[in-house]
Symmetry: D2
Subunit: 222 residues, 4 copies
């Protein structure tokens, strides 16, 4: 039923639930400025390129992607900083959360004040991941104890870690999506949100191939 | 090809070019907060009503209307004050404008400092409308003279009156559309934009009947 | 140095760092529509009331509050849903988080599917709060272990609970602030964010007394 | 009383009515992400440069400019396309418009389909400007006739040309202002709005010199 669905990280996903518009919708919106409409594929594709290269970005706002996303809360917190889009998220006040936490395969090591990351030494990695997993379990056990004792869901959930998975619907137009991709598929973004950005970009490339083509060129320039 | 098309005023129109979402998309987005989805028509319809009555307005943002509008510039100026939506308009810098001006059927009379309007006396109305029409013709003739003498379109058009028709694509989500309708179908809005709002509301009622139903109740309350 | 500062919850605060505008700025912006300016306090105050009662809300956008906020992450997550405002937050990727977690004084009990809350029985409350506090300590200890072993801050922090305190600057205009207060000081909002909303409302009342006066009347009507 | 005031075109102006923030407010908002504050001028200035060069644009949103603008309607129509800012404009529905129209000193000539402009030959320019001025006078005379016969202001004004001056208050944060300047001081923008953009940029340079410094470098790169 989905237009696209892909697993991301250990329990997350990106699903494209609905879509409106596309490359030709960009052309149509842009050509109204000269009182014209869609012409030939060759000229239309060139127009899409011209628009993005010259920062005429409003014609890209008429295409809308509606996604269903599942990601850890620490990723969602970065995501929700993008304000020109629409969100509806599962609520920990009204819903009992499931025991789903993000467990990295490899913990990243970081040299002081240096944002170049390397993998942790293997033994240490295993040992620490076991402690992390253990910590998740204890937190979730306390969460359940609190609920069983009648504590409100909205209070109980505050003991759960930022690695907890959440879900939301996200509607975003192509212009705002490109801004998201530019910032979140960048190597400076946290690796986990990069994985989501790459998945979103595959959707974008499939639905708006001409726009994606020129978007890729723009990315390398910045 | 259009999902909806209707003439408005003497040369204008409202066309629904594309649409995504609907009442069930509202339900879907809202139910994610409790980890659920669409259920039965009866319960879903009640949920839509509950949401709007209790100002949970974000689920309405996932439905998008893409309109093609033609209206006089003085109407467009009121329209473009609505910022949470997307516009692409015909450009008088790049396109030669057509001789299309809004001519009211009846000029409204207004008693001083009183915003109750009445129709002008018939004879006077006829006489003044003739002068208005004449004024449009002269302005357009000057516009053409300027163009013929090589004046740039962007300069020539500044002599044209605010009654000139313009065209634009307008993409707006259901939440922002409801805000537009609330303000612009109100009797305090200028009569001309009310005509457009009524046309837009017919589109809205057809595409999202449950939402429109409760929207109507809300309107009478305010 | 602050224009206002108040502690909220066990480790949080609301600070007003800067402010521009006020009731007279509302009047000034509104009167431009009739080509006039500020007049007498009595007439100006009436105008402010008229504007809000009749949903002329744009004149309230020219007043800006810049706050410095410290609150638990689960509160910040509700806060950041408000998109028409500006945020800069402390980053767990770049900064080592402090051991500051929100510990409720009394855990709220909730009867099933009923959003009326009561206080938990006292003995049980004490016992459970001790477990919660203990859980915070263990999570923070693991966080420090991870950092000591060279794990990147952005990875280590994902074990920390949603009760962790965060800080951010928040600039918001008076119109958007009123929308925040309407939703977040409502009894249906979570008690913790209500405390912040009440503090923000005290700032609002002090800086824009005429606007606050009519805002209070509007609140009771909805 | 104004922080800045400058005449633009034949009857227009740019006035800075109020301002909040500045370069140090950028620094303050940015440093919260690392849990720090303002340091030394040299390091702070470098930070401002780093932020803009690396597209960390949110710290610039906490500075707000409140302008009072007077410009021709065809310029205002380009201006109001910028949605991330606040507007209150004089209303032709409620206020009798003054006889103030923009008359270019030199009409621009444009070769067909070529957006390179040259000045019109002098004699022709004089002759055509006389006709333009005449056209303005006739339109305004009709406007007054309509009003005298009791026609509502909102109807009478539709005969007035796009060269008519309008006034508005405009509050815009530094990030959105930079976007405006980037697009509207560009040589591809219409010459008239470029004049306003240059005036706004002088305000910007005076209030936020460090930000303006790096903004200028960015402009030349695009």
């Amino acid at each position: 039923m989905d237009l696209f669905a892909e697993n991301v990280l250990d329990h997350g996903f990106v699903r494209l639930v609905d879509f409106m518009g596309g490359d030709l919708a960009v052309v149509q919106a842009a050509r109204v400025s000269v009182g014209k409409d869609i012409t030939t594929p060759d000229r239309d594709r060139k127009l899409v390129h011209f628009l993005l290269e010259n920062r005429h970005e409003t014609p890209f706002e008429h295409s809308l992607f509606k996604f269903h996303i599942k990601c850890p809360i620490f990723v969602a917190r970065q995501w929700f900083r993008h304000r020109i889009s629409s969100y509806n998220e599962i609520s920990g006040r009204y819903t009992e959360m499931k025991e789903e936490f993000y467990l990295p395969q490899t913990l990243r090591a970081q040299k002081n004040k240096n944002y170049v990351y390397t993998a942790l030494e293997e033994k240490m990695n295993e040992e620490l991941l076991r402690q992390v997993e253990n910590s998740y379990q204890q937190a979730f056990q306390l969460y359940q104890t609190l609920l069983q004792q009648g504590v409100a869901k909205e209070h109980a959930r505050i003991v759960l870690p930022l690695a907890l998975y959440t879900e939301f619907y996200w509607s975003v137009n192509a212009r705002s999506l490109m801004n998201f991709l530019m910032l979140r598929s960048d190597p400076h973004a946290q690796w986990e949100i990069q994985q989501y950005a790459q998945s979103l970009e595959r959707v974008f490339a499939a639905q708006m191939p001409w726009t994606h083509e020129i978007f890729c060129k723009m990315k390398t320039k910045v």
